[in-house]
């Protein structure tokens, strides 16, 4: 798979403040990429560099194997985190204006806007002013303007903040559809759990440095500890627990269950097979729960930050 976007060793300094330090990422064509990290990590600075709003102090950025140049502005659609619209301008007019700024002709922009407005069933907003609309409504207009010029690369900064769950789902589906049609998508968010299921690849950024990058499944595999959550129905919970404790690395677990069962987390050696554990457990009692503990992105983040410090 070729990469649509390649960021190579980019650094950015604002006075004494280091916003980015030697950050490299690779975004494969047609993938959904998650740029994750806490507030102030440098995500927005990186996105602004890709959008050519800010120039990097060092390093280079390639879009479709070409060094970034002003023409590329038209290949990128960017929905910023802090987003707004002209309050006193009519919805249709400003959508047209913003589309034309992205290089669409007036007639083309009108046609495409009509398609999207019909799709979201908001055609009757055309002559309204933004100040008459709710925040969620304005976000829909902003989304349309972001994708209208059919960019190769779509960048969404905190895309789902401000949307109600229903609208958020509509937008999520539209983004997936755009990806299926060939666009490459970057999500940037500090709410890491919210996009991990959507992303093929992620990069974690903390305090101006990239600390982790790769396929979500690879990362999870690397960070899983061969730990299993077990629920066991026995005659003598305390006794059995002591017995198991002697054989395996066990920690008490807490999860919701209907009946009084023995709840625990059992960690195996790296190469050990869970089958042997399961066999042992089924001989000891009735296994009602047995599932592998897969670390969440938040846990992985915390772990990898600790590893780096």
């Amino acid at each position: 798979m070729t990469n649509l976007l390649e960021v190579k060793q980019v650094s950015k300094q604002f006075g004494n403040f280091t916003a980015l330090q030697d950050v490299s990422i690779e975004v494969p064509k047609g993938s959904i990429f998650g740029l994750l990290g806490p507030n102030g990590a440098g995500k927005t600075t990186l996105i602004r560099i890709v959008n050519q709003i800010t120039m990097p102090d060092a390093g280079s950025v390639y879009l479709d194997n070409e060094p970034l140049n002003p023409q590329h502005v038209r290949d990128i659609g960017y929905l910023p985190e802090e987003r707004g619209l002209y309050k006193t301008m009519k919805v249709g007019e400003q959508a047209l204006y913003l589309a034309q700024l992205k290089g669409l002709s007036k007639t083309e922009a009108k046609e495409r806007l009509k398609y999207w407005f019909d799709k979201f069933d908001i055609s009757h907003w055309w002559n309204k002013k933004i100040q008459e609309l709710s925040k969620g409504m304005a976000q829909k207009v902003q989304f349309i303007v972001t994708v209208l010029h059919k960019p190769k690369l779509l960048i969404f900064d905190e895309p789902f903040s401000g949307f109600d769950p229903i609208s958020a789902n509509v937008i999520k589906d539209e983004i997936l559809q755009l990806r299926n049609d060939g666009a490459t998508v970057i999500f940037s968010t500090h709410r890491m759990e919210s996009v991990e299921e959507l992303c093929d690849r992620i990069a974690l950024i903390n305090k101006s440095k990239k600390i982790l990058e790769g396929r979500v499944s690879d990362i999870k595999r690397a960070y899983k500890s061969n730990t299993f959550e077990v629920g066991l129905l026995t005659q003598d919970n305390a006794g059995i627990y002591t017995t198991i404790q002697n054989k395996f690395e066990v920690a008490p677990a807490d999860f919701k269950a209907i009946d009084d069962q023995l709840k625990m987390k059992i960690t195996l050696d790296k190469d050990a097979s869970p089958n042997e554990l399961l066999q042992y457990l089924s001989n000891t009692g009735q296994v009602v729960r047995f599932n592998e503990v897969i670390p969440g992105i938040n846990e992985i983040f915390i772990k990898s930050v600790e590893e780096h410090e």
């Binding site: 985190e81 987003r83 707004g84 002209y86 309050k87 700024l101």
Partner: protein, 433 residues
């Protein structure tokens, strides 16, 4: 369409559609007319009211000289005792009491006359009184010394210097005033334009910033394009407004003349009578020649260049300020670099240039870019050597390029900074980002 054109178009439409703009466009000519009428009316009101001045003349010399004028009514209290006269003036709320004591000599008398009043009297009133009495005492002195009054009157000469330049063209003495009015009006108008439209540029920047639409736009256009688009679009709106005023003024004048029957001859008649007081028929002819002789072509061209130049210079500063702050209240602390040179330029213009258009102060300030648009505009009607104008314009254009570049750097960083009131020091740092 290129992005710059799109931005200019949007800014222009946004300005022109604004309700305040529409209202001001049509209301301000009316306000100006109303204000002017009010001022004229108040002035006449003030003049109508003649001041009552009582006099107590022990000498009896001046009684026949105190004749009522438009502004002063004289009342003779010489027959009353002095204290009664004073009381009476206070009770009747007269302007004051002029006390002329009896003295042995005219010389003594001249410095013994007193004026009693509640408040310090108006200078022009005092002058009028002094004139009357000086002339009477002078005549008295002539007579005492045995001089023939008539002979003295006849021997008085009245020198009236005729002004002519070296190529033999005559000019009127009024021409300085005309030049002053032309220059002053142009300079003042430029200052108003800079303040009003510069503020609009600033507000428009702040609006985009506080709306956060800047974040969306900035991924499509270069900050410099956006800033220039704003400055140009807003200035076109200003020129458009000016055009409407010119047309509106023309229509109003036509309507006024036809409705009130103030036909042309009458108006010129009024003008003539005003000028007649200043000089002879010959003077008027020269005056009109002078107006026509003003380098109108140069005047209009240089007005245009300094006008556009001055506006660009200042509105780029306004744009940078707008980008640096979050709201209009915060912008106050950065207004000094704009208001100070503007006020300075106007003061230099109205004091130094009028006093001495080609003096050192006027010349220097017509070179310094921040003050040159206004000061040079005021100097030009007096005839400025072409090389001075060229130096001043080159300096102006160079500093416009520099300031727009500098403002662009501040703008670029400022539009993406929120929530913090920046200091001058921080803004200096932004220039290096």
């Amino acid at each position: 369409m290129s992005n710059l054109k799109l931005i200019i178009k949007r800014e222009f439409i946004a300005r022109v559609r604004n309700k305040t703009f529409v209202v001001m466009t049509f209301l301000s000519p009316l306000i100006v007319v109303a204000m002017a009428s009010l001022v004229i009316w108040l002035a006449t009101l003030n003049n109508d009211e003649a001041r009552k001045i009582a006099f107590f003349d022990e000498t009896g010399l001046f009684v026949s000289d105190f004749k009522d004028t438009d502004t002063i009514d004289y009342i003779d209290y010489s027959k009353l005792p002095l204290n009664d006269a004073k009381d009476s003036v206070v009770i009747k709320k007269m302007y004051g009491l002029l006390y002329i004591p009896n003295k042995n000599t005219n010389k003594e008398l001249a410095s013994a006359i007193q004026f009693y009043a509640e408040e310090a009297p108006n200078i022009s009133v005092l002058n009028a009184l002094e004139d009357v009495m000086t002339s009477r005492l002078t005549h008295q002195n002539y007579r005492d010394k045995g001089l023939d009054l008539e002979m003295i009157e006849n021997s008085k000469a009245n020198v009236n210097i005729q002004i002519e330049n070296f190529s033999g063209e005559k000019t009127s003495k009024m021409s300085s005033y005309i030049k002053m009015i032309f220059g002053g009006a142009a300079g003042y108008f430029l200052m108003m334009f800079i303040i009003i439209y510069g503020n609009m540029v600033m507000r428009s920047v702040i609006e985009e910033k506080s709306n956060r639409i800047i974040e969306i736009i900035i991924s499509s256009v270069k900050p410099m394009q956006l800033m220039m688009g704003k400055i140009l679009g807003t200035s076109f709106a200003g020129i458009f407004q000016f055009f409407i005023w010119v047309i509106l003024g023309g229509v109003l004048l036509t309507v006024a003349t036809s409705v009130f029957g103030l036909d042309q001859p009458q108006i010129t008649g009024v003008d003539q009578s005003l000028i007649l007081e200043e000089g002879s028929q010959e003077e008027i002819k020269l005056l009109f020649q002078d107006i026509l002789k003003l380098p109108l072509g140069t005047l209009v061209l240089s007005f245009f260049i300094y006008f556009v130049g001055g506006y660009f210079l200042y509105s780029s500063i306004y744009a940078a300020i707008g980008a640096a702050v979050d709201n209009e209240t915060d912008s106050q602390q950065f207004m000094l670099p704009i208001i100070l040179p503007l006020v300075l330029a106007i003061y230099v213009g109205f004091f130094s240039v009028i006093e001495n258009p080609h003096g050192t102060v006027s010349t220097i300030f017509s070179m310094i870019p921040l003050t040159s648009p206004i000061v040079m505009l005021m100097r030009i009607p007096f005839g400025v050597p072409w090389w001075e104008v060229v130096i001043s314009m080159v300096l102006l254009i160079a500093s416009i390029v520099f300031l727009i570049w500098l403002a662009g750097r501040i703008y670029r960083v400022g539009i993406l900074m929120y929530g913090k009131k920046p200091t001058y020091r921080e803004i200096l740092k932004w220039m290096k980002y």
